[in-house]
């Protein structure tokens, strides 16, 4: 297919104000997405706090690809493919562990935690040890981290992680700034929510400011929460295109108008005095402003959603099947705040939580609905007439506008058209 053919193809599927329904249902498009997005661009894999000690490892993924994230004795982090180089068995099965070497259970082939093949039983059957230098574990070509968040890219060349993250680096900086030690830890454990829906429905929803007052009305009512109003027509919050497919619901303007430290967290400084003291010791007079601005609400394309006090990792498994891995953010060394963040996470996205259950219901209804023959298109025009640029030249819109969805599709198209 020539580049002109490719452009024509995407012209017929993606327009500035609408996208074709087949983008969510066509297995061929999903297969192309794996090659052009998931196996090429930077994808979030894990956090350094998940492998704190030498020889720690944890099982992760890049889309459907099984990945072992290991820390070797020198402290370097590796992303290895969980596939024995002999007959393709999973080398590791436990979700996490500590081992300098991995032994495949099928025929006993043994690998170092850096991916090197250490040996195999009865080596005379291979005429000695010649294979050892050839058959290490597969590895993710590039590994890089930002503020402890580890990303991998299967592409040998391409933009650096920081170039890929671009303006989204600010979200990570703001997140760790709320930790008195400047570090977050992902040590609270993970919940997995599987939905029968295309992965892009989740990505688009994470920074969709139009749905909370409808989809989440029940939890906002039960919890007497003011979150819904942040996404109302009177809110001064904005949504933002951060570039490279990264998008944001920036609630800071609304929080500043309300002028309530920790209001974004639904509490006040008197409830967590230890945490506030810790933060004040680091940030001094700036602490109040930091506590008012709160934590970011940013979708880092294609799979990491920083949702204030939680992180969501999106993992596509099929064109109509996606897993959302969820954990509570933990500030290193702040037990009082961490306990509250964990409790809120359990309440909102835990097994009996309301928030993610509401969203999941919408994802699956969406996936069923998009199979209807007409209309063939999904409309993403909300706020198109009132788009504007902020002081950093980013396109922004009102709180309920669809600037993020247009930004995601614009970047998606650039990746899918690329050679």
């Amino acid at each position: 297919m020539t580049s002109a053919d490719l452009a024509n193809r995407w012209d017929s599927l993606i327009e500035p104000g609408r996208v074709h329904g087949s983008l969510y249902t066509d297995p061929d498009i999903y297969a192309a997405e794996l090659e052009r997005i998931w196996y090429r661009t930077w994808v979030y894999v894990g956090h350094v706090s998940e492998v704190p000690e030498p020889n720690d490892y944890v099982l992760k993924s890049i889309g459907p690809q099984p990945v072992i994230m290991s820390r070797d004795k020198q402290g370097q982090i590796h992303l290895l493919l969980n596939r024995c180089s002999h007959r393709a068995n999973l080398v590791c099965d436990a979700q996490k562990g500590n081992s300098s070497a991995f032994r495949c259970p099928y025929h006993g082939w043994t690998f170092s935690n850096t991916g090197k093949l250490l040996g195999y039983p009865f080596n005379s059957g291979y005429d000695g040890t010649a294979l050892k230098s050839e058959l290490g574990l597969g590895r993710v070509a590039r590994v890089a981290s930002y503020q402890g968040f580890v990303f991998g890219s299967f592409a040998q060349d391409g933009p650096t992680l920081e170039e890929h993250l671009g303006a989204a680096t600010d979200a990570f900086d703001r997140l760790v700034r709320l930790s008195p030690t400047g570090e977050v830890e992902l040590t609270a454990g993970w919940l997995k929510h599987k939905v029968k829906a295309n992965w892009k429905m989740l990505v688009e929803n994470e920074t969709d400011g139009y749905h909370p007052q409808f989809v989440h009305a029940s939890i906002f009512s039960v919890a007497d929460s003011g979150i819904g109003e942040l996404y109302g027509d009177k809110s001064v919050a904005v949504c933002r295109d951060l570039g490279n497919g990264h998008t944001e619901n920036d609630l800071r303007p609304e929080f500043r108008r309300l002028d309530q430290p920790l209001g974004w967290f639904g509490t006040d400084p008197a409830k967590v005095p230890g945490y506030v003291d810790q933060l004040t010791a680091v940030h001094g007079d700036n602490t109040r402003e930091i506590l008012i601005d709160g934590s970011p609400h940013v979708m880092v394309f294609p799979n990491l959603f920083i949702a204030e006090i939680q992180l969501f990792v999106i993992q596509p498994l099929a064109v109509d099947e996606t897993v959302q891995h969820v954990t509570a953010v933990q500030y290193k060394g702040s037990p009082d705040m961490n306990r509250r963040m964990l409790q809120q996470t359990i309440g909102s996205v835990g097994p009996a939580g309301f928030l993610l259950a509401d969203d999941s219901e919408m994802y699956e209804r969406n996936q069923r609905g998009v199979h209807a023959r007409t209309p063939e298109w999904l409309t993403i025009k909300r706020g198109l007439h009132r788009e504007r640029r902020d002081e950093n030249d980013h396109v922004i819109g009102d709180a309920t506008d669809e600037v993020p969805q247009r930004a995601i599709w614009k970047h998606y198209r650039s990746l899918m058209e690329g050679q």
Partner: protein, 75 residues
């Protein structure tokens, strides 16, 4: 004390399970390691253990080649 065994505990990963005991059957203490999957037992004395503590990165990996000792190709 001869005959005394001080259990230290069991260490398991998805790759191996061993029972560790301080053994006093000899003239000096030694670490008794039992491979719980096969029942095979090995011992390490304090000097050997100290040497292990000083092993450089990867030195033990040579011994982790299954063909070297346990599943020898020429056996």
């Amino acid at each position: 004390m001869a005959g005394e065994r001080v259990p230290l505990g069991e260490l398991s990963s998805e790759f191996a399970s061993v029972q560790l005991t301080i053994d006093h059957d000899g003239n000096g203490p030694r670490l008794r390691i039992e491979d719980l999957r096969t029942g095979h037992v090995g011992f390490l004395d304090p000097l050997e253990l100290e040497t292990l503590a000083w092993l450089p990165e990867g030195a033990l990996h040579k011994l982790l080649d299954p063909s070297l000792l346990r599943w020898r190709g020429d056996a």
